[in-house]
Amino acid sequence: MSEELLAPMLGKIVEIYVNVGDGVEEDDDAVLIEAMKMETPIYIPCNGKVATINVKVGDTVEEDAVLMTIDPQ
């Protein structure tokens, strides 16, 4: 079962730190969202591999949008 990485708030994607297929560890940087002039980092929720990335830099995302999925190890 993949873990979903959700957007905590409406905002703009300013950075994506990983690629599909990357091996990742819990608490690695995943995505940086900008909202209200502040940058909020979103972290990888578990050790595993990046299965999908559903956004690109510059996208505006809604709250609870699925940003990426991680296959846990």
């Binding site: 690695d28 940087d29 502040m38 909020t40 980092p41 972290y43 709250e63």
Partner: protein, 577 residues
């Protein structure tokens, strides 16, 4: 009240792997700024004559005197970089801070005898007023190391007169005496005119055998009969007078110990003066700390070095305030007041060196769905909203009632704006918080962790609370400005841009001006600048913030003017419910 305070709930977590990795660059950036501050401090320490030259004259430098008199590990310097008049000497020529002498906290200040033999310079009286305010706010002694050659005469117009000019500290000394706060003075060197009053205005005078204090010195006496110009005869007269006064300066120990008796004690050695001050400090009224402690002192569970990973120097980046606080308070324990209400601020009780303190700090980051409750837009920490400001009003008021000193941690971009926010009464509740702070009459300390901006800077325990803020410290990440430089540039030039564009004129000159404003804001908000102009009283390394919290708390509880018995406190009971 042991069940409340001896063991409070734990908070904070060890650094995660990601935080360690991410923190490397951030720590480097913070430490680079700290290095810059260290270098500026070293320049002040080495200003004027060298230590060797002063020692060769048989004198100690002010730094050596401080090192001798202050209990090891307690010196918490303030105003080292303070130089509001931008003196070419780089200093106001007094060195001050909080420190313990003979186990008791004192505000300690001394003239830098390496620089123009401790002359009055511009900005010095303002520095001294900050120091006398500090003694007054904390109700602890002021200890002077006087060594003052008088005014730098070529710049007297900058500081001699005026309401907060060089004479004002003497009234403050009188005020401290009125309030029962002793001013002890160790006196060295030649102290004519202002230096004489600097010497005579304290409570008890401890003199070195070679010192002198006088209404006027050789220079003044020889110039007492102005004729409008100088000629050969006048010059000869001056030469004779100067020779005489150089060998017999007025106000020596023979006059003021043997004659007037102004000097209570005279010491052969420079260190003897300091030993005399130490003896008196050992007898200064002070509660044994156990009178007020609520628990045994304990270090935080987590390493202060973690702060370099946790506090982003990049102002856009969010962080977890509680993780910062957990590295500063005893045993990383906290009793949070109204958790969940007003999530943009933390308010709670913590312990510092075994003493109870109230802590208030801005939280950062997204505040969750449905907050602020009065608006349809999301709330972001650093900003203040209705609930958070109401919560701070309550907390401050209750802390005042319970006589618990407050430490503020400020990192704010301002109060929420717009008609919705106005309808939510934020303007009025903000001023209510100022009223609440003022009415506590509590000593308060402010740590400017990162941003102090907009009116929120005034509300969050800042130095504008002249009667409550004992002192403020900043960090390598501190910035102070009414608004961000880019925001200011837009505020100033947006209409002009439209006008020029509509008129078909080039907009590049306007863009240039906007960039200049943004750059100026950066220059005038940097930590070093904040310290030089006094926006904060010192820029402190992240790893040393707790030292200042210990100094503040110990001072505030040394001899407080009012007491709430621990078992009659109401704030901890409200927290418990």
């Amino acid at each position: 009240m042991r069940p409340y305070f001896e063991k409070m709930p734990d908070f904070g977590n060890p650094l995660k792997k990601g935080q360690i990795k991410r923190g490397v660059d951030n720590a480097q950036s913070l430490k680079a700024v700290e290095q810059e501050i260290d270098e500026a401090v070293d320049t002040i320490k080495n200003a004027g004559f060298s230590e060797e030259k002063i020692n060769a004259r048989g004198q100690m430098t002010v730094w050596q005197r401080l090192d001798y008199i202050v209990d090891k590990g307690t010196w918490s310097p303030l105003h080292i970089l303070y130089n509001p008049a931008n003196n070419s000497e780089g200093t106001t020529n007094v060195i001050d801070g909080l420190g313990k002498i003979s186990g008791r906290w004192a505000v300690i200040i001394g003239f830098d005898n390496k620089v123009m033999a401790g002359a009055w310079l511009a900005g010095q009286s303002e520095n001294i007023l900050r120091v006398t305010d500090l003694a007054k706010r904390l109700n602890i002694p002021l200890v002077w190391l006087v060594n003052c050659s008088g005014a730098k005469l070529t710049e007297q117009e900058k500081f001699y007169a005026n309401r907060r000019g060089a004479g004002t500290p003497f009234y403050r000394h009188a005020e401290l005496n009125q309030m029962g706060i002793p001013v002890l003075a160790g006196i060295y060197g030649t102290n004519p005119a202002g230096g004489g009053y600097q010497s005579i205005s304290p409570t008890i005078l401890f003199a070195h055998k070679d010192c002198n204090i006088a209404v006027g010195g050789a220079g003044i006496v020889s110039g007492m009969a102005p004729k409008g110009n100088f000629d050969g005869a006048a010059a000869e007269q001056i030469i004779e007078n100067t020779r005489h006064f150089k060998s017999h300066p007025p106000g020596s120990v023979a006059t003021h110990y043997d004659g007037t008796g102004f000097f209570r004690y005279v010491y052969e050695e420079e260190t003897g003066v300091l030993d005399g001050l130490k003896e008196y400090m050992a007898e200064i009224p002070a509660y044994n700390p156990r009178f007020f402690r609520v628990a045994e002192p304990a270090e935080p569970k987590f390493d202060a070095q973690d702060l370099y990973n946790l506090l982003p120097i990049d102002q856009k980046k969010v962080y977890d305030f509680e993780e910062i606080l957990a590295r500063l308070v005893d045993n990383s324990e906290s009793m949070e007041f109204r958790p969940g209400y007003g999530p943009e601020v933390y308010t709670g009780l913590c312990k510092v060196n075994g003493f109870l303190v109230g802590i208030i700090g801005n939280r950062q980051g997204y505040l969750g769905k449905g907050y602020p409750e009065y608006a349809d837009y999301p709330g972001m920490g650093g900003k203040l909203y209705r609930q958070g400001m109401i919560k701070m009003n309550e907390f401050v008021t209750l802390a005042g009632r319970d006589r618990i000193p407050l430490i503020w941690f400020q990192d704010t971009s301002g109060i929420d704006v717009g008609d919705t926010a106005e309808k939510a009464e934020l303007l009025g509740i903000g001023q209510s918080l100022i009223y609440s702070i003022q009415q506590t009459d509590l000593p308060q300390m402010m740590v400017l962790l990162r941003k102090g901006s907009a009116a929120a800077h005034y509300l969050l325990g800042g130095p504008q609370g002249n009667d409550t803020n004992a002192f403020s410290i900043g960090t390598a990440a501190s910035e102070v400005y009414v608004m961000h430089g880019e925001t200011a540039a837009v505020a100033m030039y947006s209409r002009r841009l439209v006008k020029e564009k509509d008129a078909g004129r080039p907009i590049e000159p306007i863009i240039e001006k906007m960039n200049k404003i943004a750059d100026d804001y950066k220059t005038f908000s940097r930590p070093k600048y904040c310290a030089e102009v006094g926006y904060v009283d010192e820029i402190v390394k992240l790893s040393e913030i707790r030292n200042y919290m210990v100094a503040f708390t110990g001072s505030a509880y040394q001899n407080p003017k009012s007491i709430c018995p621990q078992h009659q406190m109401i704030l901890p009971r409200i927290i418990k419910g």
